[in-house]
C-alpha cells in the first residue's frame, strides 16, 4: 500500500474528529492574563435598567437603582419595592447609565474567550475566565464559579441566555457577584425560583419569572425588563471606578467671567 493511500484516509479521519470536537465540545484556549472587571460606570448603581419599560407583578424587592431610558414606563412599583436606590424614569442618570451600559456591553463582548463553544452550563465548575457560546442554558442544575473575590467571570452568549426554573449559580472560594458578567446578544430569561448571580447585560430584553433571586443586575439595552415576585439585589461592594468619559455639553447661557 502506498504512503499516499494510507495518509489520505488518516488525514480525513483526523479532520473529522477535530471537526466533531469543535462542534460538540467547548474548546479551551491559551489562558489570558487575569481579566479585569467590566466597568459599568453609571450603570453600576442600578439593579434594574431597561430601555423601554420595567414591568413588575407582585412583591418584587429591588435593592439598588431602577430605571428606564428612553422609555418612561415603570409599572408595578408598588406593590414592588425599591430600596437602597430610587426609580429613574428617563432622567439624566438613567441616560448616562444606558450610555455606559453600551460601553460595558461592548467591552464584555470584545474580551477574548478562554473557552468557546459553551452551551449547557449545568454541572460545570468553572475557574475565572471568559466563556463564549451561542445560546447559553442552565437547565435546572447548578453552575459553580470557583475563584477569589478579585477573580472575574465573563460569559458571552452570541444569542440568548435561558436559566430554567430551579437553576442555581453558586459561588465558591470567595468569588464575588461583583465580578460575574453575562453579555447576551439577544434576550435573557431567568426561570421560576432560580437563584442567579451576576450582571446581565442583554442587548434586548430580560424576563424573570416568579420568585427568582438575582444577586447582581438586570441591564437591558434596547428592550424591557419584566419581573414577578422576584428579589433583585445589586452587589454593594463592587468596583465602580471606571475611567471617566467625556462630558456631555449642556445647552445654556454661559455666565462665566469671560
Amino acid at each position: 500500500m502506498s504512503l499516499k493511500r494510507i495518509a489520505l484516509p488518516l488525514i480525513v479521519a483526523v479532520g473529522l474528529v477535530v471537526s466533531v470536537g469543535l462542534v460538540t465540545s467547548p474548546v479551551t484556549h491559551a489562558a489570558n492574563a487575569a481579566e479585569s472587571a467590566v466597568g459599568l460606570g453609571n450603570a453600576g448603581s442600578f439593579a434594574v435598567l431597561a430601555a423601554s419599560t420595567v414591568t413588575n407583578t407582585g412583591a418584587t424587592a429591588v435593592s439598588g437603582d431602577l430605571g428606564v431610558n428612553a422609555g418612561s414606563a415603570v409599572t408595578g412599583f408598588p406593590p414592588g419595592t425599591v430600596n437602597n436606590g430610587t426609580i429613574h424614569a428617563t432622567d439624566t442618570l438613567s441616560g448616562l447609565a444606558q450610555n455606559d451600559l453600551v460601553t460595558a456591553y461592548n467591552d464584555a463582548a470584545g474580551r477574548t474567550p478562554t473557552t468557546s463553544g459553551l452551551t449547557v452550563l449545568d454541572g460545570k465548575s468553572l475557574v475565572p475566565g471568559v466563556y463564549s457560546g451561542g445560546a447559553l442554558a442552565l437547565n435546572g442544575g447548578t453552575l459553580t464559579l470557583n475563584g477569589t473575590a478579585n477573580d472575574v467571570f465573563i460569559f458571552q452568549a452570541a444569542s440568548g441566555l435561558v436559566v430554567a426554573s430551579g437553576s442555581k449559580v453558586a459561588l465558591l472560594g470567595g468569588a464575588s457577584a461583583c465580578n460575574v458578567f453575562w453579555q447576551v446578544a439577544s434576550s435573557a430569561t431567568i426561570g421560576t425560583t432560580a437563584s442567579f448571580v451576576g450582571t446581565v447585560m442583554a442587548h434586548t430584553s430580560i424576563s424573570v419569572d416568579n420568585a427568582a433571586t438575582v444577586n447582581g443586575r438586570l441591564l437591558a439595552q434596547t428592550g424591557a425588563v419584566t419581573l414577578i415576585n422576584d428579589t433583585i439585589t445589586r452587589p454593594t461592594s463592587c468596583v465602580t471606578a471606571a475611567v471617566g468619559t467625556p462630558a456631555t455639553p449642556v445647552p445654556g447661557r454661559a455666565r462665566f467671567t469671560g
Binding site: C238, A254, G258
Partner: protein
Amino acid sequence: MNSRRRAAILAGALIATALLSGCGRLADGVVPSAASGTPTPAASATPAPPPAVGTSATATVARLTVYASLGGTVKLTLANPSPTGGPLTLLVLQSSNGWLEVQLPDRPNGSRGWISASQVTLHSLQYDLRVSTEQNTLSLFRDNTLVKTYSVATGTGGTPTPHGSFYLTELLAPSNTGYGPYAFGLSAFSTVLTSFGGGPGQIGLHGTNDAASIGKAVSHGCIRMSNIDITTLAGLLPLGTPITIE
C-alpha cells in the same frame, strides 16, 4: 510639580487602588466618623493600572449632602443636576471607610467637604490641565505625560485668573456669544469679581469670538482658547478633570 498636585495624584492613586480592590462602594447610612479606618487595599490578580490622575464623584441622588468634616455637621446640600443642568460632579481628594473628602464648586476657592460614597458614582481620571498665567498657556496631560500645550488668554492684572488647584465642574454649549462653541465651568471663582454677567464670578475655560486675544492677559479671569482647541478638549475631558493654575 507643586505639592498640591502631587498630593492630588497620590490621593487619586490610593483611591483608585482601594476601589480596584473592591472597596469602592460602601454601606449606606453610616454616620461619618473620624474613627473610621482607611480602606486597606487587597491583593489583586490584575495588572496594576497606571496611577490615576484623580477620581471624580458624580452624584446619584437629587440632593447631595456635604458634611463639614468626618463626624461633623451638614455644611451644605448640592443640587443634582447642577444649576446649569449637567450632572453634579466633584473631585475626590481622599477616602475614608465609605466617605469621601471632595473639593466643592463653591467659594472660597479650594473649599472642601465630606460626602457619602454611597451617593455617588466614581470614575478614575486620566487627564489633567495645567495653566500658566505667566506664559498664557494651557498644557494637557494624560497619565501625567504632556500631550499638548495650547496658547490661551488669561486674566488681566486687575481681574486675574486665580491660582490654585481646581477641577472642571460643568460643560456648556453656550447659547450666548463670546464663549465660543463650548465653555467648561471651573470650581474656581474670581478673587475680584463677586458677580459677572448674571453669574457668581465663576471662572470658565472656553472658546472666544476674539481670536486675537489668545496668548494675552486680557480676560476678566476666564481662560480663553481658540474655538478649535476648546472643541478638542470638550470631546476629551470628563467632568472632574483637575486643572491647576499657576
